[in-house]
């Protein structure tokens, strides 16, 4: 059996799901084990159609749950080949046990996560609750802001995850519906160019090499467990970022599209800055430009690589800012919010610390409007002028009822 190549226009009109499915097709995955869930379902459906039309070959295993999807991916990856899947929300939550197993076993699986709220109450729309749930799972995690990113970052993901110096699984996050179901122009690569970027899969410790049997997934107790986890963390902290940067550099040479570990927008002389992820980055950029016309020196810091966390890159990006706000799109569950905490950790030991406040927004698909961001930048400028944070440290944006704020 062989497969046909697909002729693509230089720019296709794709939503984020289709962009991700096309990237998987072009990477020539050996095994996809998947269980569809809104809003990532079209990635699985798209891949199924490519298979039905003879544009991919390999095994497509439609399992009975997301837990089984990642379990099958782990078995397939340990056997030795290119493996990917996609999920969202409750499916991601069900998968969490196996996320830790995949990373602990150092298996280079690529998981497209189309971010969605977590029940209860049940909700199919986009927020980052699922992303936050798996933040300590030991995966490399990349963040797409639009369908173009969702396409491009899949190639980066395979390139980095499968590198024998890394051997860690990688997630590509995109916002449910706002990215996954919103069609935009996506600049494409030809099948040959795209495949050449990721290259042939190079197996390592593969179970299907019968001359060299391997044991995967052993038991370690207090004698070795800590060393294994420490080594995995060490590799995340020291080995991944250089490989991501190298992949970004090569990708720019190939396509002209430039990605950065932290995406700075108008940060060179910014007094006030918003730190955020996903589609909000684009909204914030637009509003920052408008604020500059009003005389407020506004900037945006978008997190591109969520894990490993870009500690120094963020310090560098925010070094001149006087007041910043984090935008956390996940119910903080009795805490200030992940981005708030991580910014605080980044900035606390600096000689000159900006004023820091945090916003909770967009839960369950609630829109973040330009007006919200205009108000936010205005508030940050007021903090700068006063030399202190004038509001509570944590405020909810866009929630109905009385204004909700804490701390």
């Amino acid at each position: 059996m062989a497969f046909d190549k697909m002729e693509l226009r230089d720019i296709e009109v794709w939503d984020g799901n289709h962009a991700a499915a096309q990237a998987l097709r072009q990477c020539q995955i050996d095994v996809v084990a998947a269980y569809p869930i809104t809003p990532s379902t079209p990635i699985v459906e798209g891949y199924a159609k490519f298979l039905a039309d003879g544009y991919v070959e390999g095994e497509f295993v439609l399992v009975e749950s997301e837990h089984a999807a990642m379990s099958g991916c782990i078995g397939a990856a340990a056997a030795g080949g290119r493996v990917a899947t996609a999920t969202s929300s409750q499916g991601y939550a069900l998968m969490v046990e196996t996320l830790y197993q995949a990373s602990g076993m150092r298996l280079p699986i690529v998981l497209n996560v189309v971010n969605r709220a977590l029940a209860a109450p049940l909700n199919v729309n986009g927020d980052h609750s699922d992303m936050y749930l798996g933040r300590d799972s030991g995966w490399i995690q990349l963040n797409a802001y639009c369908p173009q990113d969702a396409y491009d970052l899949n190639f980066i993901a395979f390139r980095v995850a499968e590198d024998h110096g890394v051997r860690l699984p990688c997630m590509v996050h995109q916002d449910g519906f706002m990215t996954s179901h919103t069609a935009q122009g996506v600049k494409t690569m030809t099948d040959d160019v795209a495949y050449s970027f990721v290259g042939d899969f190079k197996p390592m410790n593969d179970m299907l090499d019968f001359e060299h049997p391997v044991t995967h997934g052993v038991q370690t107790e207090e004698d070795w467990h800590f060393e294994h986890k420490a080594r995995q963390h060490n590799d995340l902290m020291t080995k991944v970022m250089p490989k991501v940067q190298a992949a970004f550099d090569d990708f720019e040479k190939l396509t002209g599209r430039k990605y950065n570990i932290v995406e700075k927008y108008d940060m060179d002389d910014a007094d006030v800055a918003v730190v955020c992820m996903g589609t909000s980055v684009e909204t914030a950029r637009e509003v920052a430009t408008e604020m500059r016309a009003k005389g407020i020196k506004a900037g945006v810091v978008g997190i591109r690589v969520i894990r490993p966390f870009p500690f120094f890159e963020i310090q560098e990006a925010l070094k001149g800012a006087k007041a910043i706000a984090t935008l956390d799109r996940s119910a903080p569950g009795g805490a200030p919010g992940m981005l708030f905490n991580e910014m605080a950790g980044c900035l606390f030991n600096l000689d000159k610390r900006p004023l820091l406040s945090g916003k909770i927004y967009g839960l369950g698909g609630r829109d973040l409007t330009k007006k919200h961001l205009v108000d936010l930048y205005t508030e940050l400028q007021a903090n700068v002028d006063a030399g202190k944070v004038l509001t509570p440290l944590q405020q909810f944006i866009g929630v109905r009822g009385p204004k909700l704020s804490f701390l």
């Binding site: 050996d30 078995g75 299907l208």
Partner: protein
């Protein structure tokens, strides 16, 4: 073509090349290792194995050691079947794409799991693997209890057993539910082969395992595995206990082909009363009190009814 191993006698069998090493941490007298060796020794083909979390797993792959001289994987408690199904899918993919390192080999994909990991927590995963038709064999090491964690009941635990979560006590005879019939449930998936085996009847077991390896599609094997620790008998008596389990027909040996054709593969010359099987195990000691003797009688009736049912099924050829 797969290579079927010719085994003439027990001596020859016991001296076959071992891909499961004796260097492991299983209890003396544990039937798991006997069953695993009998399964692996049934073929000379390459093996890709998994173990679900449980006694077999924690006793055979403690870093930096391994007892496995074949590719082996453990992920979690519930998903060992799917781990091997994933590996089997990769094998098919690489075969299609011409990327197998040793394309002339004919590997067998086997998943080992306890009854807890099969009847309970892994049930859905196994069902999924059976339904999808992976070319894998799932072997249950059925000791009717969560032995690895200290003897908690599973849905394979038989009625009347005293276990740590259903202990016999002043007002209780222990487990209240009868054992789940996994062989029938799995056969109902329409899989090419499902069977019950016992390590004492090794020729019967090897024949079934070899048949399982020869078919195209999923295979389910339920192996009775007497547990010296939780069934509470002397480690030297493992085979005696296994004999009692098969000869009392508490564990009848049979196979179901293509989900419907049932064959009884072992008919004891002398059927042992269930009472003798129960009396040999500490877990049923309390059943011999006067107030619980009715449970032994009911058990005998259930075993008789099950045996009659199996005979009718075999006779009917449906």
């Amino acid at each position: 073509m797969s290579e079927m191993k010719k085994i003439k006698n027990l001596k020859e069998f016991s001296t076959s090349a071992d891909r499961f090493e004796g260097a492991n941490l299983l209890c003396p007298g544990c039937a798991h290792s006997i069953i695993v060796r009998e399964v692996l020794n049934a073929t000379n083909d390459d093996l890709v194995l998994s173990a679900s979390t449980g006694c077999l797993e924690v006793c055979t792959a403690v870093y930096p050691y391994t007892s496995w001289d074949a590719s082996w994987i453990h992920i979690g408690f519930e998903n060992g079947s799917t781990a091997v199904a994933g590996a089997e899918s990769m094998y098919k993919a690489l075969k299609t794409k011409g990327r197998l390192k040793q394309p002339d080999r004919n590997p067998k994909f086997v998943s080992f799991a306890g009854d807890g990991a099969s009847y309970d927590i892994g049930f859905q995963w196994i069902s999924g693997c059976m339904e999808r038709g992976h070319n894998i064999m799932h072997v249950v090491l059925d000791n009717e209890v969560y032995a690895n964690t200290g003897g908690q009941r599973s849905s394979s635990t038989p009625i009347g057993g005293s276990n740590t979560t259903t202990p016999a006590g002043r007002v209780s005879y222990g487990e209240k539910k009868t054992k789940k019939d996994m062989v029938s449930i799995m056969a109902s998936h329409g899989i090419p082969y499902s069977a019950q085996v016992a390590p004492n009847k090794w020729k019967d077991m090897v024949k079934k395992i070899q048949h399982g390896f020869s078919v195209d599609g999923p295979v389910f094997i339920n192996a009775v595995s007497p547990c010296t620790t939780e069934w509470k008998f002397d480690p030297k008596d493992t085979m005696m206990l296994t004999d009692l389990s098969t000869d009392s027909l508490v564990f009848p040996l049979y196979e179901i082909i293509d989900g419907h054709e049932l064959n009884i593969t072992y008919r004891p010359k002398t059927v042992v009363p269930v009472e003798e099987y129960l009396a040999a195990q500490g877990r049923f000691k309390h059943l011999f009190k006067d107030e619980y003797k009715y449970l032994i009688k009911e058990w005998q009736e259930r075993v008789d009814a099950q045996w009659a049912y199996l005979n009718r099924r075999e006779e009917a050829r449906v």
